[in-house]
């Protein structure tokens, strides 16, 4: 099982490259049971949206 630390790194890299099959699977399993990392992932997506709109 991936740790939250590893998951946070994969969530970030997932914004920059296509993750491998095993990475995607590990990520999805972890997110199913971890609210903290699920919130983190939403925040990363929000950050991307916010910076795009920066004047």
């Amino acid at each position: 099982m991936l740790s939250c630390k590893e998951v946070s790194r994969l969530v970030s890299q997932g914004l920059d490259r296509r993750l491998g099959f095993a990475e995607r699977l590990g990520l999805r399993l972890h997110l199913l049971i971890c609210d903290g990392c699920t919130n983190f992932k939403k925040q990363m997506e929000f950050l991307r949206k916010a910076v795009k709109q920066l004047g």
């Binding site: 740790s3 939250c4 630390k5 590893e6 946070s8 790194r9 970030s12 890299q13 914004l15 920059d16 490259r17 609210d35 903290g36 990392c37 919130n39 983190f40 939403k42 925040q43 990363m44 929000f46 950050l47 991307r48 949206k49 916010a50 910076v51 795009k52 709109q53 920066l54 004047g55």
Partner: protein
């Protein structure tokens, strides 16, 4: 105070502006300027005969800036470890679980939010901020950013990861308030 000393001291504001622009960190800038002024005072004899004090001082300052950047890049990995240490415990669990942000999309309607976001961006180390803005604001792909900054893809992902971790924390503390 000797005349030379007064003149050297008089260049401090200019040198500080110069160093701040290069280093983007006020504290380090003050340090390198201080080192430069001390070196200049100790080396008064070396200046004798040259006409332009500012040019001479700037020359010394440039060396001090390069040294500071080298020091910082050697120290960077440990600073990175510090951040990770602060966020995660030994087993890789969040020390402080990210909680849901209340209505983040509403923030995108507010000018004050973007001012805060810019403040948070300004806190990032120069290179980290560059990588992040190239990626997220200008939408470059990682391999283009690597070429631009002369770093490997892996290093690039680390810079982007670090930027996101710092920005998330900064927004959480300064906007989405806990």
């Amino acid at each position: 105070m000797s005349d030379f000393r007064t003149r050297v001291e008089g260049e401090r504001p200019y040198l500080l502006r110069y160093a701040s622009l290069q280093l983007r960190d006020r504290h380090t800038a003050e340090d390198v300027v201080q080192e430069t002024l001390l070196a200049a005072l100790a080396g008064e004899a070396a200046f004798a005969g040259r006409s332009n004090l500012r040019t001479w001082l700037t020359g010394i300052l440039k060396h001090k800036i390069v040294d500071a950047i080298r020091r910082a890049s050697r120290e960077a990995p440990s600073a990175d470890e510090d951040l990770m240490e602060e966020l995660f415990d030994e087993s890789g669990h969040w020390r402080d679980m990210p909680s849901a942000w209340a209505d983040p999309d509403a923030a995108l309607e507010q000018k004050e939010f973007f001012a805060k976001l810019e403040e948070c961006l300004a806190r990032l180390p120069a290179r980290t901020a560059q990588a992040f803005m190239l990626r997220e604001h200008l939408g470059l792909e990682t391999d283009e950013i690597c070429k631009e900054l002369g770093v490997t893809a892996t290093h690039c992902w680390v810079l982007l990861y670090r930027a996101r971790m710092v920005l998330r924390l900064c927004l959480e503390q300064n906007w989405f308030g806990k």
